[in-house]
């Protein structure tokens, strides 16, 4: 799961988008690179809001509770699953000692007033089915607000970065242009990439030193589970974020940024924890690398996309 950053440049409904400007600036800022499209990408987001929060607050009532959102996202570069990002319920049901699955995220302390969001990834077949289910059976608390899409984005490779550009169009309820999305992906060496993905049965491929296939070959870093701590991951994210910010600064564009938002990196840390746990086991090392794809890949970038695309109206 690479470290990414997402920028959104809003535009007026009737004016042209910033897409051509970004492309031009990209060419201008990196004259040495061959900026040619290497592929296409697409995105779709459906946003639901809590039905109650849509009602105007009555004058007698106190401050309305925080709005709650449910966002469905599908990305063409993560075709094996879709993402659902939902606000935690404000008044929790009487579930006793519901332990949060992850520890407090150290990357970016949560300062936002909105309740924390829960990330879920689902198989592609469930994507449409679940959306239909919520709009059919959960009308009292979920109301579909709009659907956004990047129908045909463009992918560029710029040095150690991969850049995905695309215009965001609203398709439901009315068709209109919303702005331009820029995803910047760091493709250089990274500790994060070195953590292997747990397999179906919860075991891991042979780790470094076992003499098997080098899962770390991609990143070029030779590490073992004991070498990495969660703080290393935090540091890695922060460092990469500054690289991405630097890259973005060279373009000189104004936009809404989403890099170190709450929750980013939690799947990576979870993976690390599982890896460390598995590292003490002895029964690892069947070296068939192909298994089911990591259901959590892309969760970071999905969070970032949904962060910038969470419009109120």
């Amino acid at each position: 799961m690479p470290i990414t950053g997402v920028y959104f440049i809003p535009s007026n409904p009737n004016s042209s988008t910033a897409l051509s400007t970004v492309t031009e600036r990209l060419r201008a800022a990196f004259p040495d690179e061959d900026i040619a499209p290497i592929g296409r990408w697409a995105l779709e987001q459906k946003l639901l809001r809590d039905t109650l929060g849509l009602l105007p607050a009555s004058s007698t009532n106190k401050k309305p509770p925080n709005p709650r959102y449910m966002q469905f996202l599908s990305l063409s570069h993560y075709p094996t699953h879709g993402f659902i990002y939902t606000s935690e319920p404000a008044d929790k049901p009487p579930a006793p000692n519901q332990t949060p699955t992850g520890p407090v995220n150290g990357i970016a302390p949560d300062h936002s007033p909105a309740p924390p969001m829960v990330m879920t990834t689902i198989p592609p077949a469930s994507y449409g089915t679940l959306f239909q289910h919520f709009t059919y059976a959960c009308q009292p608390f979920w109301s579909h607000r709009f659907t956004l899409a990047v129908p045909n984005g463009v992918v560029y490779d710029v040095g150690d970065f991969r850049v995905r550009l695309g215009d965001v169009r609203q398709t439901v309820p009315t068709a209109r242009v919303r702005g331009t999305l820029v995803e910047i992906e760091w493709r250089g060496p990274s500790v994060v990439e070195a953590i292997p993905v747990a397999r179906e049965d919860g075991s891991f491929g042979s780790v470094a030193g076992a003499g098997g296939i080098d899962l770390e070959a991609d990143s070029g870093i030779d590490i073992s589970a004991a070498d990495i701590e969660e703080s290393d991951i935090d540091a890695e994210y922060t460092a990469t974020a500054s690289l991405i910010r630097e890259f973005w600064a060279r373009l000189g564009m104004e936009g809404r940024e989403a890099i170190l938002i709450p929750g980013v990196g939690s799947e990576v840390k979870e993976r690390l924890r599982r890896w460390k746990k598995a590292g003490s086991r002895t029964d690892i090392g069947r070296d068939d690398a192909e298994g089911e794809p990591d259901p959590w890949s892309g969760a970071d970038v999905a969070r970032q996309f949904m962060e910038v695309l969470r419009f109120n109206r």
């Binding site: 009602l55 009532n61 935690e88 319920p89 579930a95 519901q98 198989p123 009292p140 003490s280 086991r281």
Partner: protein
């Protein structure tokens, strides 16, 4: 999607014979199924429905629509996970955090497959609406949806989506398929320790300790067929015709009939 189904009650003494009859009819061996079924209930914030106020920027039509939505139905829904017989009665999985390196791993590795891993449990969300009223057809027809969920703990996501865990039970039975119809001969098992937990179980008790919901041990025979597009009259008709055909074929053994509509009401009051 729509589900059309017919039901029959099968007393326990007829169970074995019917299994054989169904195996002969469908020309296949029964597929034994064990399923965990978690029941979730959609929750509504109390006392807020019908709240109206000065319309700031909402059109009157929108407001009406929202109010209508707020007063819409809420439903129970099930989250179903397939389990195997080995998953029951397995010893509690040792938390590997407590057992650090240095201790002997041999005994733990001896039978790693027999332990039930809640974190790896696969789930699917199964929703059924109340059966359609006033249809002339003599089958139970209801709106449904089925969606795979991520593995492991679903409660956090379900809570965020607006559902509370209520209780859970187990269904055991045998599945046959004939002419596009799934035939499920099953019965409901309760957990021995009752359903006072607020969370789904992490471990499963021994299968023999499970208690029957219906004390006589009788089974329910459900024959169902799922139609992709419920608005397509042609396929809906084909589906019910298939079911009627099966009903005729099974007539000497059991009588399949429509279920009482209100007994299948999934609406949360």
């Amino acid at each position: 999607m729509h589900e059309q189904s017919l039901f029959a009650s099968v007393p326990v003494h007829q169970h074995h014979e019917l299994l054989q009859q169904l195996a002969g009819l469908t020309a296949m061996q029964p597929r034994h199924c064990l399923e965990r079924r978690l029941i979730f209930k959609a929750f509504r914030k109390p006392g807020l429905a019908g709240r109206t106020g000065a319309s700031q920027d909402l059109q009157q039509g929108d407001l009406q629509r929202l109010n209508k939505m707020l007063n819409g139905n809420l439903y129970y829904t099930q989250v179903i996970g397939s389990v195997s017989e080995q998953d029951f009665g397995s010893t509690a999985q040792i938390d590997q955090d407590t057992q650090m390196a240095g201790t002997d791993n041999a005994e733990r590795d001896g039978s790693p497959s027999s332990s039930y891993d809640y974190e790896r449990q696969s789930w699917r969300l199964e929703f059924r609406d109340i059966p359609e009223a006033g249809t002339r057809s003599a089958v139970t027809s209801r709106f449904m949806s089925s969606a795979a969920l991520p593995r492991g703990d679903v409660v956090q996501a379900m809570n965020a989506w607006g559902y509370n865990f209520v209780t859970e039970y187990v269904v055991e039975g045998d599945m046959f398929v004939h002419n596009g119809i799934a035939i499920f001969l099953h019965r409901v098992l309760h957990y021995p320790d009752g359903g006072d937990s607020n969370l789904p179980r992490q471990q499963l008790p021994a299968l023999k300790d499970m208690t029957l919901l219906e004390k006589s041990g009788s089974y329910v025979l459900q024959a169902f067929i799922i139609v992709q597009d419920g608005s397509n009259q042609e396929t809906m008709k084909t589906a019910s015709q298939h079911l009627f055909g099966l009903r005729e074929q099974l007539k000497p053994a059991v009588l399949l009939e429509q279920a009482d509509r209100l007994s299948l009401d999934t609406r949360a009051k």
